[in-house]
């Protein structure tokens, strides 16, 4: 349409120097109505703008996202936002400001799979720490939705240990989910946070998540009945945090843990004994639990219905197959490239004046014996 093309030419023309950018901002503000009505054609016009030159593309995209949310149709924004991200990023390792916006749209539109395509990329470059913070929080939620708890834990861990001068609501919510996912995935939760966590987080996170800390204690007793009672009593608290679904998964994970613990003690066990130990109502229920765990690969066992027994088996993986070698090979490649990146970062930091200033202050005085006997002229 005529006016959108004018807009594009204006953007292209005015993005060249700083004073023009302010003029462009005003122009864009005025054009907001136009953007609103033409939001559907935005995608094709994004193609015409070279993102490296037009930083206001990000603002345009953000406005677009707000519009889409106002219209209560977040799914409309998912496709264009993904295209925008791919255009703006200098590489797939680059996190843009649009990443968290995109993930938020995916969550609201329930298009979790679309979010995964962006989350699979490893990130090495970030514009703003805040972007990464939100990216990790939303990303964690998407992984939880897809039941990829290991990745969810990674991202939530980043949110909880992020540098912050004072505690904020996102970190608290992330911590609550972190506790629950930790219980589901590992069957345990350690409340000690790593050393690099901010002191604000160390001091305050636990205070804001009391019901969840109590849940951990109840979980650790191993008694299913107690856990279920606790969940029932505190149901409303978990529901208001939107965590009831996760809490229920914590409860069912306890049955699994208890059954898994049996494999460490017994070679064979009757279904009735399993039902009694794990506090299930019948041997048929126990059979279904074991079957589901076999289906999910959480246990290696065979059920013998004739005798009503379960035989626990060793992991049949022999690590001899081609597939396994491929797996090891690709893991080694990834670690090697990660190692190279770390070395490069280490070199960069070693040259950073801020770092050198701090390190220099803390350097100890050396004795004469600490120097090796290299002739003076080779000392730099």
């Amino acid at each position: 349409m005529q006016s959108i093309e004018n807009l594009v030419t204006q953007i292209q023309g005015l993005s060249s120097n700083a004073s023009d950018i302010t003029a462009l901002k005003d122009y864009l503000k005025a054009a907001e109505d136009l953007l609103r009505s033409e939001s559907t054609r935005l995608l094709s016009f994004l193609d015409q703008l070279d993102p490296s030159k037009h930083s206001l593309v990000i603002n345009v995209c953000k406005r677009y996202k707000d519009q889409v949310l106002l219209l209560e149709a977040p799914i409309r924004g998912v496709g264009p936002m993904l295209t925008a991200i791919r255009k703006i990023q200098s590489s797939t390792e680059h996190l843009t400001t649009l990443h968290p916006e995109f993930l938020q749209l995916c969550l609201l539109a329930k298009c979790y799979k679309a979010g995964l395509s962006v989350l699979e990329d490893d990130i090495y470059e970030i514009n703003l720490p805040r972007d990464f913070f939100l990216y990790c929080y939303y990303g964690g939620m998407i992984f939880i939705g897809q039941k990829r708890f290991r990745k969810a834990l990674e991202l939530l861990h980043n949110v909880v240990t992020a540098p912050m001068s004072s505690i904020n609501a996102i970190a608290v919510e992330a911590y609550k989910k972190y506790i629950l996912v930790s219980l589901i995935h590992h069957g345990q939760f350690s409340s000690t946070l790593p050393k690099y966590t901010s002191s604000a987080a160390q001091r305050n996170l636990k205070n804001f998540s009391q019901p969840y800390m109590e849940l951990v204690n109840t979980y650790n007793t191993g008694k299913i009945a107690e856990l279920e009672t606790y969940v029932q009593t505190n149901r409303e608290k978990f529901e208001s945090d939107n965590n009831l679904g996760l809490v229920k998964q914590v409860v069912s994970s306890m049955y699994k843990r208890n059954i898994q613990r049996l494999t460490q003690t017994y070679l064979t066990l009757s279904l009735q004994d399993i039902a009694n130990t794990v506090q299930l109502n019948s041997s048929k229920e126990a059979e279904m639990h074991v079957l589901q765990m076999i289906q999910d690969g959480e246990i290696f066992a065979t059920i013998n219905q004739k005798d009503g027994m379960v035989r626990f088996l060793e992991d049949p993986e022999q690590y001899k197959t081609c597939e396994m070698i491929e797996h090891i090979d690709s893991s080694i490649q990834r670690i090697m490239s990660l190692s190279k990146k770390l070395t490069a970062m280490d070199e960069l930091i070693s040259c950073d004046p801020l770092y050198l200033g701090k390190a220099g202050r803390e350097r100890q005085r050396f004795d004469f014996d600490d120097f090796d006997s290299v002739p003076q002229k080779f000392n730099i």
Binding site: S39, T40, L43, A73, I75, R76, G77, V78, G79, P80, L82, A109, K110, C111, Y112, K113, A114, G145, Q146, K147, M288, V290, L291, Q292, I294, Q295, A301, T302, I303, N304, Q305, K306, D307, R311, P316, K320, T321, C322, E323, I325, E326, I328, D329, I332
Partner: protein
């Protein structure tokens, strides 16, 4: 709305691609601002997810369907019933849900294909999880009556004890690729050498 990639996939029976095609198409159509919900082939979309065993995404799709559509299109509700049983792992209930509805012509082929695939999956599960199992339960898992089920599994080498109506499972040894590519071994040897020095 251009559904040609979808109709092509259905025609060529590439059912495993249906879920991805539907996802991409949905995002594309939504981006154009079209109100697509009324005409969207939710039944095919859901069945496509079941075919590739992605029940998570099926759940989220169901949650996003407007309630007006849930009220007016019985086939969509029937398609979700299958997903519900898959989600709660009510293995026998899946068959009931598949057979409990008179599917439209476009959905029939996909439903039939999924039903066949599901039976195969269930059979694999039984083979890996059981050493002996009653014919009654086998029938439930495979969605057949007891005689058909017994016949089916005996074709695969299981044995039946008619007195106790117990089937003994014959495990199929896993044939995994063990031919090693010599270059991979070379790579690994080099890594180990590198790490040790």
């Amino acid at each position: 709305m251009d559904f040609s990639p979808l109709t092509d996939a259905l025609a060529s029976k590439s059912y495993e691609k249906i879920a991805d095609i539907c996802d991409d198409l949905m995002l594309k159509v939504a981006a154009e601002g079209i109100v697509f919900q009324d005409e969207w082939p939710y039944v095919i979309h859901l069945l496509g997810y079941y075919y590739v065993n992605d029940i998570n995404s099926a759940r989220f799709l169901w949650k996003s369907i407007p309630s007006t559509i849930k009220d007016s299109r019985a086939e969509v509700v029937a398609a979700w019933k299958i997903g519900q049983h898959l989600w709660t792992r009510d293995y026998a209930g899946v068959y009931d849900a598949i057979r409990g509805f008179d599917w439209s012509q476009e959905a029939q082929a996909l439903v039939a294909a999924f039903s066949e695939l599901y039976t195969k999956r269930m059979f694999q599960l039984l083979m890996s999880a059981y050493s002996t199992i009653s014919t009654q339960d086998t029938a439930l898992f495979l969605g057949m009556n007891e005689d058909d089920a017994a016949y089916y599994v005996q074709q695969q080498g299981w044995t039946l004890d008619p007195a106790s109506r117990m089937l003994t499972v014959k495990k199929q040894p896993l044939v995994t690729e063990q031919k090693l590519d010599p270059s991979k071994m070379q790579c690994l040897t080099e890594y180990v050498f590198h790490l040790e020095h």
